[in-house]
C-alpha cells in the first residue's frame, strides 16, 4: 500500500541521510553517532524519501528522467490514501487529517483539565503536564493554521472561481503529503519524552530541552514547508484560474479570505521556519544565536517567532471571517452588506498584521520605547476588524434569516469573536497587559479567538459544505444538539478563565493557589462537557457520510458556483467553463444572475423541469 511504501521510503531516506552525516562527522573528527545532530539532518532526507515513495516518483518525478509515468488507476475510497491530484480529494484528505489531529489535541486538553481540577499534582507531575500542554498547544495551532485553508481552500475555492482544479495539482498533492510526517515527528517527540516549552518554544529553554524538542522543531518546520507550498498554489490559482467574467469585485468573500490568508502564509511562514531552524542549529551545530554567554540574544527568537506568529493568528481567523460572511449572506437571503468594505477589512488586517507582533513582548524586556508604537498599531487593527462586523451586522439587518446549522455556527463566530476581540483590546493596553500577560486571561482570550472564532468557523464550513463534499446531508437534529452543546460548553469553559486569570493564575502550570480551586473545578467540568459534544459530531459526521440522506445539488439555495454543480461535483467540476455575469450576492435583485453555466449543464434547470 501507498502509505507503507512511503514509510519505507522515509526510513530509507533517514538511514541514507544518517550515513552521510555520520561520514561527515567522522571525517571532521566528531563522534559518529549523536542522536540530535544526525536526526536533524537525516530528517530532511527522510522527508524526500517519504515523498518520493508516497507517489512523487511514480506520478511525477519519473518524467524528470525521461521515464514513462505510472498511470494513475486508483479508484474509490483508496484515492484518499493515494497521491491524488484532484483538489476535491485533497480537500477531504486535509479535512480528515486535521480533524483527527483536532480530536487528539482535544483529548490532551481533557487530561490537562483533569489535572487542574485541584491544586497540587494529581494525575500528572509538572514534567508530564508540561509535555501534554505543549503538545496540545502545538497540535491545535497546526489545526487552526491549516485545517480550513487546507480542506476548504482546496475543495471549494477552485469551484467557487469556476476552475477545474488548482493551478498546480501535483504540487497540491505534495503539500498535503508533507502533513503525515508532521504527525510522525510529533509522535516521535511525544514518545521520546516530549518537550516542555509550550508551542512557543522560547529560546534558550527550547535549546536546552530534551530530544523531543528537536522533533517539535522539525514538525513545525515541515508544516511550514507545506503551508508555503499550499499558499503559493492558492494564490496562483485565484490570480490565474478565475472563470471568464470573475473579476476581483465578483469573487465570493470566502475566496477573498482564503486568498488574503495565503498571502500572509506565503510572506510570513518562512520566519517560523527560520526560528525553528535557528533553534535546531543552536542545538545540533553549536551555533549560538540565542546564547547570551557567547554573544547571542534570547529576545531575537521572540521577535522572529512573533513576526510569524502574530500574522498566524490572522491565518487562523480570516478564513473563519470569510466563511461567516459567506454564510450570513446566503442564509439572510440578502446581498453581502458593504462587500467592498469587507474586502477592505480583510486587506487592512493583512497589511496591519505585519506591524503588531511585539505586543506579545510588552514584558519581555525589549526597549521601553517600543511599547507605545506597538500599543498603537495593535489598537488600530480593530478598525479593519470592525469592518468585518459592519458587513455582518448590515447583512443580517432586514434579512430573511434562516437559522440552519451553518448559520448557527456563523453567528457563534460573531459572538465568540466579539469577546475575543474586545479582550484583545484590553491586552494591547500595556498597563493592563503587564498584569495579565502570561495569565489565564491570555489563555481565555486566545481560545475565544482561535477556538471560538477559527474552529467554530471550521465547523460552520463543515456543516455548510458537507453535502457538497460527500453528496449526503448531515443529520439536522444531531447537528443542532452538537451546536448548542458545543456553544454552551465552550462559553462556560472559557469565560471563567478570564476570571481566574484576573485573580492571578498564571498559565502553563499544573499547580496553583488554593483560592482558585472552585472556579477551576467549574472550568474542568465545563471542559469535559465541551469535549463530549464532539462525540455527537463525530457520530453524525461518520454516520451521515455513510448513510445520510442523499444531498441535492443546492440544499441551501445558495448562489455561489459550487452549489450549481452536482453533489459531489464531477471530476472536472463544470462541463463547460462557466461565464460569470455578476457577483454571487444578488439576492432580491430582479434578473440578477451569478453565472451562465452553459446550455444543458444547469442542474437547476433540470430540477425545475422535473418539478
Amino acid at each position: 500500500m501507498n502509505i507503507v511504501r512511503g514509510l519505507i521510503g522515509g526510513a530509507v531516506g533517514y538511514i541514507l541521510g544518517a550515513a552521510l552525516l555520520m561520514t561527515i562527522r567522522v571525517a571532521t573528527g566528531a563522534r559518529a553517532w549523536e542522536v540530535e545532530s544526525v536526526s536533524a539532518g537525516a530528517w530532511m532526507f527522510a522527508l524526500i524519501g517519504w515523498l518520493l515513495a508516497v507517489g512523487v516518483w511514480r506520478y511525477w518525478a519519473r518524467e524528470w528522467f525521461g521515464l514513462e509515468l505510472v498511470p494513475y488507476t486508483t479508484t474509490g475510497w483508496r484515492r484518499y490514501l493515494d497521491f491524488d491530484t484532484d483538489h476535491k480529494v485533497i480537500g477531504i484528505q486535509y479535512l480528515v487529517k486535521f480533524l483527527t489531529m483536532f480530536f487528539m489535541a482535544g483529548l490532551f486538553a481533557m487530561l490537562m483539565r483533569y489535572e487542574l481540577m485541584d491544586n497540587g499534582e494529581a494525575l500528572l507531575d509538572s514534567g508530564r503536564y508540561n509535555a501534554i500542554m505543549s503538545l496540545h498547544g502545538t497540535m491545535m495551532v497546526f489545526v487552526a493554521v491549516a485545517a480550513t485553508v487546507g480542506a476548504f481552500g482546496n475543495f471549494v475555492v477552485p469551484i467557487m472561481i469556476g476552475a477545474d482544479d488548482m493551478a498546480f495539482p501535483r504540487l497540491n498533492a505534495l503539500s498535503f503529503w508533507l502533513i503525515p510526517p508532521v504527525l510522525i515527528a510529533l509522535t516521535v517527540s511525544f514518545v521520546s519524552g516530549g518537550y516542555d516549552t509550550g508551542w512557543t518554544g522560547y529560546a534558550p529553554l527550547s535549546v536546552e530541552s530534551d530530544v523531543g524538542g528537536l522533533f517539535f522543531n522539525l514538525a513545525f518546520f515541515t508544516l511550514g514547508l507545506s503551508s508555503i507550498i499550499g499558499a503559493l498554489n492558492i494564490i496562483v490559482t485565484v490570480v490565474t484560474m478565475r472563470a471568464k467574467g470573475m473579476n476581483w469585485m465578483r469573487l465570493p468573500i470566502f475566496v477573498w479570505s482564503i486568498f488574503v490568508t495565503s498571502i500572509l502564509s506565503l510572506i510570513f511562514t518562512q520566519f517560523i521556519a527560520l526560528a525553528m531552524l535557528m533553534v535546531v542549529l543552536d542545538r545540533t551545530a553549536g551555533m549560538v544565536f540565542f546564547d547570551p554567554a557567547s554573544g547571542g540574544d534570547p529576545l531575537l527568537y521572540q521577535h522572529i517567532f512573533w513576526f510569524y506568529s502574530h500574522p498566524a493568528v490572522y491565518i487562523m481567523i480570516l478564513p473563519a471571517f470569510g466563511i461567516t460572511l459567506e454564510i450570513i449572506s446566503h442564509f439572510s437571503r440578502k446581498p453581502l452588506f458593504g462587500y467592498k468594505w469587507a474586502v477592505g477589512g480583510l486587506l487592512g488586517i493583512m497589511g496591519m498584521s505585519m506591524f503588531v507582533w511585539a505586543h506579545h513582548m510588552f514584558t519581555s524586556g525589549m526597549a521601553e520605547a517600543l511599547r507605545k508604537p506597538f500599543l498603537a498599531s495593535t489598537e488600530l487593527i480593530s478598525i479593519p476588524t470592525g469592518m468585518i462586523f459592519l458587513s455582518a451586522v448590515g447583512t443580517l439587518w432586514l434579512g430573511k434569516i434562516r437559522l440552519e446549522l451553518p448559520m448557527l455556527f456563523a453567528l457563534a463566530v460573531l459572538f465568540n469573536f466579539l469577546i475575543g476581540g474586545i479582550t484583545g483590546v484590553f491586552l494591547a493596553d500595556v498597563p493592563v497587559d503587564i498584569q495579565l500577560q502570561d495569565t489565564y486571561f491570555v489563555v481565555a482570550h486566545l481560545h475565544y479567538v482561535v477556538l471560538g472564532g477559527g474552529i467554530f468557523g471550521l465547523f460552520a464550513a463543515i456543516y455548510y459544505w458537507f453535502p457538497k463534499m460527500t453528496g449526503r446531508m448531515m443529520n439536522d437534529r444531531l447537528g443542532k444538539i452538537h451546536f448548542w452543546w458545543m456553544m454552551v460548553g465552550f462559553n462556560v469553559t472559557f469565560l471563567p478563565m478570564f476570571i481566574v486569570g484576573l485573580q492571578g493564575m498564571n498559565r502553563r502550570v499544573a499547580d496553583y493557589t488554593p483560592d482558585l480551586v472552585g472556579t477551576n473545578r467549574v472550568i474542568s467540568m465545563a471542559g469535559f462537557f465541551l469535549g463530549t459534544s464532539f462525540v455527537v459530531f463525530l457520530y453524525n459526521f461518520i454516520y451521515s457520510w455513510i448513510k445520510g440522506a442523499k444531498a441535492p445539488a443546492n440544499p441551501w439555495g445558495a448562489r455561489t458556483l459550487e452549489w450549481q454543480v452536482p453533489s459531489p461535483p464531477p471530476h472536472e467540476n463544470f462541463e463547460v467553463p462557466p461565464i460569470i455575469l455578476a457577483d454571487p450576492y444578488g439576492y432580491g435583485e430582479p434578473d440578477s444572475d451569478h453565472a451562465d453555466l452553459g446550455i444543458g449543464t444547469l442542474p437547476k434547470i433540470q430540477e425545475t423541469v422535473e418539478a
Binding site: 509538572s126 534558550p204 439587518w397 432586514l398 430573511k400 434569516i401 460573531l414 474586545i422 500595556v430 498597563p431
Partner: protein, 269 residues
Amino acid sequence: MSRYSSKAGRPLHDVVAFRIVSGGEQESNTRNRLVVVGVAWLIATVLGWWAVTAYDWHPFGASREARITDEAFDLLMLMAVPIATFVLVVIGYSLLRDRDRGQDVDGPPIRTNRTFVVGWLAVTTILSIVVIITPGFSGLDELRAYPEPDLVIDVKGERWSWEYTYAESGVQTRGTLMVPIDTRIMFRISSTDVIHSFWIPAFRIKMDAVPGIITTTMVTAEKLGTFESADELRVQCAELCGVGHARMWTGVSVVTEAEFDAWLEASAG
C-alpha cells in the same frame, strides 16, 4: 417551490418575492426599528455598566501601579460595554424580527448604506484613537512617572528559585521578599539560565528575567501585608521555565520603613 428544505433544491433564478413597500411606509418602518434598537441598546448598556461596576474584577492590589492598572482596566470595561451591547442588540433584533418564517423569499437588495458605513468607520476610528491615548499612553506615562528609585533590589532568577540582593546593604535572601511601604523601589532583574518572569500580582508588575541582559521595573507599595494575608503578595515566575515553573515563587512582605530598616540591619549582621 414550496418552503425551502434540506431536501429540495432551489432554482438558480430565485423568485424575487420580498414585499415591495411604498416609500413612506418603509421610512416609518425603518424609524420604528431604529427607535426600538436604540432604546434596547440604551437599556442594555446601562445594565452592562451596572454589572461591570458592581463586579469586583481585581484581586488584592497593594501598590501605586495596581491603582493605575486597575483604573485602566475599569475604563476599558466601561468603553467595551456599549460596543458589545450595540453589536449584540442589533444582531439580536435582526434574529428576532428578520427571520424567514416559511415565506421562502429574499430580503431587500440593500448593498450598502452610506450613513451607516461612514458612521461605523468614524466611531471605530475615534474609539481606537481614544483607547490609544487613554488609558494606553496616559497609563504608560503614569507608570513611568517617577524614575528615581529610593531603593534598588537586584533580582536573580535561577531554575527554580529567586534570589534578592538589596543593592546598598548587600543583604541577600532567597526567602520572602521584604519591601518597605511608600518607597520608590527599582528591581534590576536578571537570569542565569533560561527566561523567567518576575511577577508580583498584588503590585501588578511583571518583567521578564532574561539571561544576558538586565531588565528593570519599578513599584511603590502602598499597603502593608504578607503572603499569609493575601496570596497575591508573592513573587511568581510567569514565564514557562521547566518542571519547577509553577513552584518558582516566594512570598512578599510589605512592612513599614522602620520595620524594614530593622530587618535589614538584623540580616546584615
